[in-house]
Symmetry: C2
Subunit: 411 residues, 2 copies
């Protein structure tokens, strides 16, 4: 008899029929004797509809009013799901973020959870009810409605699971787990039974968009076992959990992440003096452009080439900023490329295995793929390559690290 | 420098453009130096959309969840209106019923307001803000969202005006005031400058659907001056207020109300013994049928004919109930007619003028209209006639009581 917090995203509750299917799934868990707290998002499309209405009113909608507006999306879903549960004989009760209450800071549209009261939820669970909570929203100390930013429903689920000391936080989504890489690119991509929070964070931030990064961080911090499952087909999904020291043999690499959304910019011939990095990246940051990878090399003539990547949408803007920077720094020129892709290998096993990076470079070299940038962390190695080689690179690495579907390396 | 509570209904906020028009109207009042609290309904169509979703889930949707669901309708409007106000430089802040807070009893979907806190609203007004409140909704002592039932936004407006001691509660709607009768029936129907709460109640309950009855009762009880105006064209509208003793000359009749939604049923040859009325109306009431007019006459043979009217939708059901009643009472038979209409003359002037009823009957007789039932109160006389004579009767009465457009009797 466990306590599960289950989160269903917008696609999983996207229609009357899908909400009814969620109700049936929840009923199944109740019939097995488990307690269930359900966290739901707005029905798919609803948040975009509301945002469009807001933008008809105000180009930059007032953040407090924006939160009051979009928070109605989940409120609709919680009420409908409770009706669907009652219809099939499952007692249920809905709560908005303010009703629970999910206390947040005052940063409208991107608030962070500070505390969750669990008294009302506990009382309902003790009385045999399913509790249905609106994800993505909370309330500040002055009673203003806040939202956690898009996708924040995952965070609500994890935070509730932590506050309630739930046995598992289950994130229902439209994929049936976390894969070694995107199955659309590599046919042999394999669902992982288990992955660590750290690996998941690297996978997520590198473009495998199964879970919200903040939710994974939160789950890791509070050691809430997190499971990604499909709303639409049965299966064990992927369990995201703390590192399991007992596992004798660990795969070196858990997965291959990749990202096509980046563009690369280089300032060439920069005088090699202190403070150059901040004089290049300061103006970029002030233009609200986020930087991902950064690489700097010293050339023979005591100048340096400074390269970084940005989101592809910011490419033109960043080029504009750099023209001014080149003048001010007395640099030679700035060049850029928006036909690049980033590929990363991720795995906690890297820590205890030498030679992982060189194995990666070998595999790419064997396919004649030139590496333009390299960046490493304790559990990942990322490279930037020409976008046209992306699929080839991912398949080569997937095979080189023995990730293709087979039982030999699965946990 | 007055404080106005302004209520805008679903049609008045039915689109982005209309919400922007409301914002402009509110800005005009602010520029004249007035304080404004705005109460809004859901955008027209929205509440019906939500109810349809609920009914897809549950034939009889759970009332608590229904309230959580439909209350999102007004929440969307308050946020959008605040954005529209801010866009044109008017500082504004939205409040849901729970945020204000509008405290109600626990009767979901038909709650009644018990108390309104005004502290936050006062603070915002003092800081020069327009306060925008979601109509139709409140919260109970346990923090559950409640609604006042359909059309309850008028009541929210009046209750807020009473709590804030506002100078006037202005109800903006799609008509430009209260008329002597329906202008679609009588071309010469005239907008009234003023009408008393009592007259308005009789007009409203008799089928002139400009204002919610409960809102008028509430306004009368707390002596909140109520004004009905058009959202779409300028004009003074109609002021609903307490009886003005200073007016020397009062029109005898303020207006003609009528109603096509009724059906008439008669139990004939009922033994004239005590308790007959309850033995007839008891079963009707238990079948959830509401009764409007009731008339009983004693016949020469010591039996009685008992006649009453019900909503036309309940006609068949009521006939079924009466078949059983006839058997149990040993009555002769039951007959009915659903091709009837009710016409009423309403006016506080009746109190001090004799012969109003007979003047009404004369006017109908002159048109050869047979009167089937009569019912009177202190400030109204209602008759039931064949439906086919309805328009003729209304026009005849409008003219007989000098209500046709002219300045001679207007206040």
């Amino acid at each position: 008899m466990a306590l599960y917090v289950q989160k269903y995203g917008g696609t999983s509750v996207g229609s009357v029929e899908r909400i009814q299917a969620v109700a049936e799934k929840v009923k199944g868990f109740r019939q097995q004797g488990h307690d269930v707290v359900v966290v739901v998002s707005a029905m798919s499309g609803e948040t975009n509809r509301l945002i469009a209405l807001a933008q008809d009113m105000q180009t930059q909608p007032d953040p407090r009013e924006m939160d009051a507006l979009v928070s109605t999306g989940e409120q609709v879903t919680i009420a409908l799901l409770c009706m669907a549960l009652k219809k099939i004989g499952v007692d249920a009760r809905s709560y908005t973020g303010a009703q629970v209450r999910v206390l947040t800071d005052k940063y409208h549209t991107k608030a962070r959870i500070q505390d969750i009261e669990t008294e009302r939820v506990r009382t309902d669970l003790d009385q045999g009810r399913v509790v249905v909570v609106a994800g993505f929203q909370g309330v500040d100390t002055d009673g203003n409605i806040t939202t956690l930013g898009r996708g924040g429903s995952d965070t609500t689920g994890v935070a509730l699971a932590a506050a309630l000391k739930a046995d598992e936080c289950q994130i229902y989504t439209d994929v049936d787990g976390v894969y070694t890489t995107d199955p659309r690119v590599v046919e042999g991509a394999r669902r992982l039974e288990k992955i660590t929070f750290e690996e998941m964070l690297e996978m997520a931030s590198l473009g495998s968009k199964v879970l919200q990064i903040r939710a994974v961080e939160f789950a890791g911090k509070y050691k809430v076992p997190l499971r990604v499952l499909s709303s639409f087909k049965d299966g064990p999904g992927t369990l995201i959990t703390i590192e399991d020291d007992e596992a004798v043999e660990k795969p070196v690499i858990s997965g291959i992440a990749f990202n096509r959304d980046e563009a690369k910019l280089t300032v060439m011939g920069v005088p090699d003096i202190p403070g150059v990095a901040s004089r290049i990246l300061g103006p970029i940051s002030r233009a609200n452009i986020e930087v991902d990878m950064i690489v700097q090399n010293i050339a023979a003539d005591h100048t340096t080439d400074f390269t970084f990547t940005v989101h592809r949408n910011d490419y033109d803007k960043a080029q504009g900023v750099l023209q001014q920077v080149v003048k001010e720094l007395g640099a030679r020129e700035s060049v850029g490329n928006n036909k690049i892709a980033k590929v990363s290998i991720v795995g906690v096993g890297m820590r205890s295995h030498a030679g992982v990076a060189s194995k990666m470079f070998d595999a790419l070299a064997a396919e004649n793929i030139n590496i333009q940038m390299i960046s490493t962390s304790e559990i990942k190695v990322s490279v930037v390559i020409a976008e046209k080689y992306l699929e080839l690179a991912v398949r080569a690495l997937h095979s080189a690290f023995d990730l293709d579907a087979s039982d030999t390396v699965s946990e």
